[in-house]
């Protein structure tokens, strides 16, 4: 795996016995000796520590004012950036001219600049996209910081032991904290459906911080395998699978991420790529929709499974975009796209599993209730 990039925690992962795999150009831990199932359940019961250093950390700064950077950013995504208060973060998507999704990201107002966390596989694309779209802003890729996620009901107690200020943060708050491990950029967020934090730390301090967190009896290291089953149980999209350039935010059931001021009748209506398509779908509905799917029985319906209206003949009506076994729900779970007429929870359709039409029921997302500290 010599041509792969490493993170500041790669040596620690190896020391902990992780199984390493290539992911988005990085050598990343897919699981530790405990295994995916136990790592998943531990995160929901206590706290899991994830290395997400492969994700892109980007600072967007205007030479003029913060408002001008925020206003410029609104031309790239259907999100209210101008009214995002300092110290707060919000989820958003970059869109293209046909309303498709170029990437999904987290975006924080840090006073004099915006701080973005983007997907590893889309980092280079996103930076080029920002530079082209925001010619009057300085786009700085943060290369010498690791990103850790501490997730689960014990995350607050554990992290507050090292950084007392984090206990009073609410879901989607961001802040800068001094610590024994240097300056930490912390958000109260994550991608597991659990309460928790994402912590940006200097590359040189990342391992001692990770070791300090892991020294707590409630914290276990968790790999990408469990990160995937946790986010799927939480109903969260994985870029390149559940969302991509061919899916709009409305088809993807991400309309909640488009604030009122950017919708029809809002004071800053439209003005982002694909606005005509997206705002029309927001008002009139899309032809297809991302839904949760609960297969009957125990066999998972994995990504790529073709969906049919009935167990008889007929053309496919959709496709599974993510599918796995949900350790917390103790059952298989999937997400996929179906026509609007089949998108109501409770609708029974079928998926082709190894040549057999297996029944599957459209279900509400998330599969497990979110546990955020709002």
């Amino acid at each position: 795996m010599s041509d792969l990039e490493t993170t500041p925690l790669t040596a620690l992962h190896r020391a902990l016995g992780a199984k390493m795999v290539p992911f988005a150009g990085y050598e990343m831990p897919v699981q530790f000796p405990a295994g995916v199932l136990k790592e998943h359940l531990h995160t929901r019961a206590a706290a899991g520590l994830f290395d997400v250093s492969h994700m892109g950390q980007v600072i967007v700064r205007s030479g003029e004012s913060h408002e001008s950077a925020a206003a410029a950013m609104e031309a790239l995504l259907p999100v209210d950036v101008l009214d995002l208060p300092e110290g707060r973060q919000r989820y958003g998507v970059f869109t293209n001219e046909t309303g498709g999704i170029l990437d999904d990201l987290m975006l924080a107002n840090r006073g004099d600049h915006l701080f973005l966390v983007v997907n590893a596989a889309r980092r280079d694309h996103d930076i080029a996209h920002l530079r082209a779209g925001l010619p009057r802003c300085r786009i700085e890729e943060i290369k010498h910081r690791a990103l850790l996620a501490l997730q689960g009901p014990k995350a607050e107690a554990v992290l507050a032991g090292l950084v007392p200020g984090v206990a009073s943060m609410r879901f989607m708050d961001v802040g800068v904290f001094r610590s024994d491990h240097g300056e930490l950029w912390i958000s109260r967020s994550g991608y597991t459906g659990e309460d928790g934090y994402e912590i940006s730390v200097g590359a040189g301090e990342a391992e001692t911080l990770a070791r300090a967190l892991l020294a707590h009896e409630d914290v276990a290291p968790v790999g990408l395998g469990a990160r995937d089953s946790l986010r799927l149980e939480a109903g969260l999209c994985l870029y390149g699978h559940d969302i991509d350039q061919t899916t709009t935010p409305i088809e993807a059931a991400l309309g909640w991420a488009i604030q009122k001021v950017r919708r029809r009748g809002g004071t800053r209506e439209g003005g982002f790529p694909g606005a005509a398509v997206i705002l029309d779908q927001l008002e009139n509905g899309a032809e297809r929709q991302r839904v949760g799917l609960r297969p009957e029985g125990r066999a998972p319906m994995r990504e790529g499974t073709t969906l049919f209206k009935t167990d008889g003949a007929g053309d496919p009506v959709g496709r599974v975009t993510s599918g796995a076994f949900g350790p917390t729900i103790g059952a298989p779970m999937s997400m996929g796209y179906v026509p609007a007429a089949l998108a109501d929870p409770g609708t029974r359709i079928h998926g082709d599993v190894r040549g057999k039409r297996m029944p599957v029921t459209v279900a509400n997302l998330p599969f497990t209730a979110a546990n955020f500290k709002r």
Binding site: G35, V36, K38, G297, R298, P300, F325, P327, P332, R354
Partner: protein, 120 residues
């Protein structure tokens, strides 16, 4: 006990009946097993047929029939408790028993020493 390159173990229980499971090495590679689909009792199988589906948290994989014969028993307990495949792959978590008129096909497979060096 004999071993295949597909990481199955085969144990001769007498009366031309072979018990088949997967090795510890295979169960570790698979990760946590969450679903097992077994063949019907009475099925006539040919060596190489895909007759068991195992789904782990990572992926789906198959177990192939190691010899020609008839499925005479399957381990129904695995359907309700697939995790047995991880906790006791060489014992409780056998998958099926196959009755064969021609046990000479067993000679193609490795003994334990050969298997251990095969997995390195």
């Amino acid at each position: 006990m004999k071993f295949t390159e597909e990481h199955e173990w085969l144990r001769n229980d007498g009366d031309d009946v072979i018990v088949v499971g997967i090795t510890e090495h295979a169960s570790e590679q698979l990760g946590d097993v969450v679903f097992v689909e077994l063949p019907e009792i009475g099925t006539q199988v040919t060596k190489g047929d895909e007759i068991v589906v195992i789904e782990s948290v990572k992926a789906a994989s198959d177990i192939l029939a190691p010899i020609d014969g008839e499925i005479v028993e399957v381990n129904e307990a695995l359907i309700d408790d697939p995790a047995k495949v991880n906790s006791d792959p060489l014992g409780d978590a056998w998958f099926f028993k196959i009755k064969s008129a021609d046990l000479s096909q067993m000679d193609d497979y490795m003994d334990e020493d050969a298997y251990q060096s095969f997995i390195g």
